[in-house]
Symmetry: C2
Subunit: 464 residues, 2 copies
């Protein structure tokens, strides 16, 4: 009899808890879809400020604007965390063409890769050699590469359902292509844009010269996917064509910038810190709406949605808008460094940096016990069509916080369109849908609410 009573009591408790959680999630989504602020904030970031490359005036405007907006939310604390960031400047628009028959030239759209050196003032003209990836350089050897521009042309594998996997399969060409090609005497590189689409837009992105001295660095540019196809076809007809490009980008001295941080202090466990964030910097070609204005404004709205729905967090919830994810990760590294110095106890961090598209779920980097706890919440998310609860990477800016205890998570929006816009001139506000963006903010706030309420399971918890 007593057993039955206890069972009944437990079932009631579970049922009550479920109902309270269901109600809270419903409130969060309702407020986000009818009175969200993420879309309005993004409108300002994108259309009033624009692309926010680290060290730029726009990046500073974005710091000022988002801090001012957080100040208006009535949080317990809002502050700027200083961090030195690289300042790379694109300069005047790049220019490229190839000569297939003497006296004729065909323009192709290019842009300098972030961090690249300039060409000489008069530009660079040389023969091309096309490769399908970095690994092909060794087999060609110095003999076939020296004095030439290496054209990295491995495309996205369209068969991969995750466009991030397709990106991961190509991005080494962009990141280390110049460094590797210069070892064989190449004078420059052109990289096929990291995009799922066939179009005329070059996509920029970070690159690294590694340990190569400044004087030996060769210029690197991205070419649009259509331009890459045209070039490849032309090369098959005439391997001897000359390619010309000119860019006058420059790497300046590091400058001071900021992570923008706001927090609601926890009512019960103020020393347990939960972070939600995105990166405030962006590339300079578009206005950085999807990458990662969306993640910033969603993260800001998470704290606001919790407040608006009357939820008082048990733990300290921080929004962190990281500076310089794109070309240095200085903000993410600095945040983690300061946390270590101050002996702050971060129990959870959630990043949104995959675009403002319809949310599909989350990727978790955490212990088995925490992952099981989260899987137990799947039914709560089902009414909002959130089905993906998988293990995997969380996000670049929160990764430096990683330790054996912390629960790291990344929002996983629908990914089919992300690389149509990523780092290109069409990463702009009109390609963000208000409902999709606000659905993402609500989905993030819901996870933050649940983790705050139920806590993260420590790895050393004594069983029983």
């Amino acid at each position: 009899m007593r057993k039955i009573y206890i069972l009944f009591f437990l079932v009631s408790m579970v049922s009550f808890a479920q109902t309270a959680d269901e109600a809270q999630l419903r409130k969060i989504y309702d407020v986000s879809l009818t009175n969200g602020k993420a879309y309005d904030w993004l409108n300002h970031l994108s259309n009033q400020i624009g692309g926010r490359l680290s060290g730029s005036m726009q990046a500073q405007q974005a710091v000022d604007y988002t801090k001012a907006q957080l100040d208006l939310l009535g949080l317990d604390r809002v502050w700027l965390q200083p961090v030195m960031v690289p300042k790379w400047v694109r300069g005047t628009p790049e220019f490229a063409y190839f000569e297939s028959t003497p006296g004729t030239s065909t323009n192709v759209p290019i842009c300098a890769l972030g961090g690249s050196v300039a060409t000489k003032p008069g530009g660079l003209k040389a023969n091309l050699i096309e490769v399908q990836g970095v690994e092909e350089l060794a087999s060609l050897g110095r003999e076939k590469i020296e004095g030439k521009i290496v054209f990295f042309n491995r495309p996205f594998d369209q068969k991969l359902i995750s466009t991030f996997d397709a990106y991961a399969g190509c991005v080494d060409q962009r990141y280390i292509g110049a460094a590797e090609a210069s070892k064989y005497g190449a004078v420059g590189i052109i990289v096929r844009s990291m995009s799922s689409r066939l179009d005329d837009l070059p996509h920029t992105g970070a690159m690294s010269y590694g340990e190569i001295p400044v004087k030996d660095r060769i210029p690197a540019a991205a070419i649009s996917t259509k331009g890459a196809n045209l070039l490849s076809t032309t090369l098959k007809l005439n391997a001897d064509i000359k390619f010309y490009f000119k860019q006058n980008c420059v790497q300046l001295e590091d400058v001071k910038s900021y992570n923008v941080i706001g927090e609601i202090t926890g009512s019960k466990y103020p020393n347990e810190i939960m972070v939600v964030g995105g990166h405030l910097d962006s590339w300079d070609l578009g206005d950085g709406s999807h990458d990662d204005g969306a993640g910033c404004v969603q993260s800001m709205d998470v704290l606001r949605l919790l407040k608006e729905t009357g939820y008082k967090p048990l733990r300290t919830i921080r929004v962190v808008l990281f500076m310089n994810e794109e070309n240095g990760l200085r903000g993410g590294n600095e945040y983690a460094k300061v946390a270590t110095t101050k002996k702050e106890n971060h129990v959870f961090a959630l990043e949104s940096d995959a675009g403002g598209f319809t949310p599909r779920g989350f990727s978790f980097d955490c212990s088995d016990a925490n992952f099981e706890m989260i899987k137990g919440w799947e039914d709560l998310f089902e009414p909002y069509l959130i089905h993906m609860f998988v293990r995997g990477e969380s996000g670049a800016d929160i990764d430096p916080l990683k330790n054996s205890e912390i629960l790291l998570a990344g929002l996983r929006p629908d990914l089919q369109r992300y690389f149509d816009h990523h780092h290109a001139a069409n990463d702009t506000f009109e390609h963000v849908n208000k409902r999709e963006l606000q659905m993402g903010a609500a989905t993030m706030a819901s996870l933050v609410y649940l983790v705050d309420k139920y806590g993260v399971i420590p790895s050393k918890k004594i069983k029983g």
Copy 2:
């Protein structure tokens, strides 16, 4: 020992079957994502032909084009099924303004609803009365409505996660608003556009005058959501404002058109027919890319993907491009009528008519046994991020085929953006993403493959 042997055998069979199905789905998605034809076909339908209103020259061009394309696919049979369709013509662009203070006027974007009568040649000017829905008319009564233009202004409920639910909650205003308002002496109606967005685009769509004689019919137009907000705000300041609109649309005699049909004859059960389709007609303001060019080209690609992957259907698979879904459903009704007359045994029908967005799953209208069978396939779809297997409506064009035996299904793409474009001038090709469209075609082809392979469970199947 024998039991164990049988168990092992069964496990092997299941595992083998699973692997063969996994491999076939993988092939379908691979071909669709690397060599799909849906996007190219849609490019032609949208950009070379354009909006395909029933009875229009463009609708006939679409019939000719899609038949010719199906002819090229090497199907076993391709034919046109004649059907008489209504022919409604919009005429010259509509025009509307309101006068808030004497001598000043403010333009607002409107469009005639499909099937509406024209205003008098000089247009219609009258006072307005705003209502939140059809049910409000009775409480206002003839006294407050007579001689006025009724302004139906109930907006989408943004809290609903399914935008189709939001649409369903408003669309009665558009469909029966004029018929109902005219019973109280209204001289015209203006309906807030059926859209999730706040913008300047009016959204057309079907309406019905029911049994009201032609001479008593009042003109009906949609107003953009921003126009509706402006009008509503102005009315609160001055209830006496005059609204003017002019449209010269006309309903002509029915004309002959066609359903376009192609089939692969079943190798084992040729008399069991499986249909996959969408509707070839569209509204006239945009080019009908999402509604429902997408569904048509995906359905065409289903048959092609099965052929390209080397699959030989056991049952007869038909693609049906239905004519006149938008303003009459004549094609869907005619197809079902002919099927009945010919005593054809339709066991399955799948419709795609919710836009060419990322596929999320299906909605099924079928017996419990068939739904359980399908739920058993969920794991096969998981790698493609297809998670929604729900019960519900299938689609308007296949609904006339409904009986106790048939398995009806509707593709369920992501719905957040659908009503941004639905029936408006921005339902255009550039808003369809190639990967999302081709993912949908592959998802449909995968379901068709599985249903063909395993068959539909008859309701009278003898157990054991």
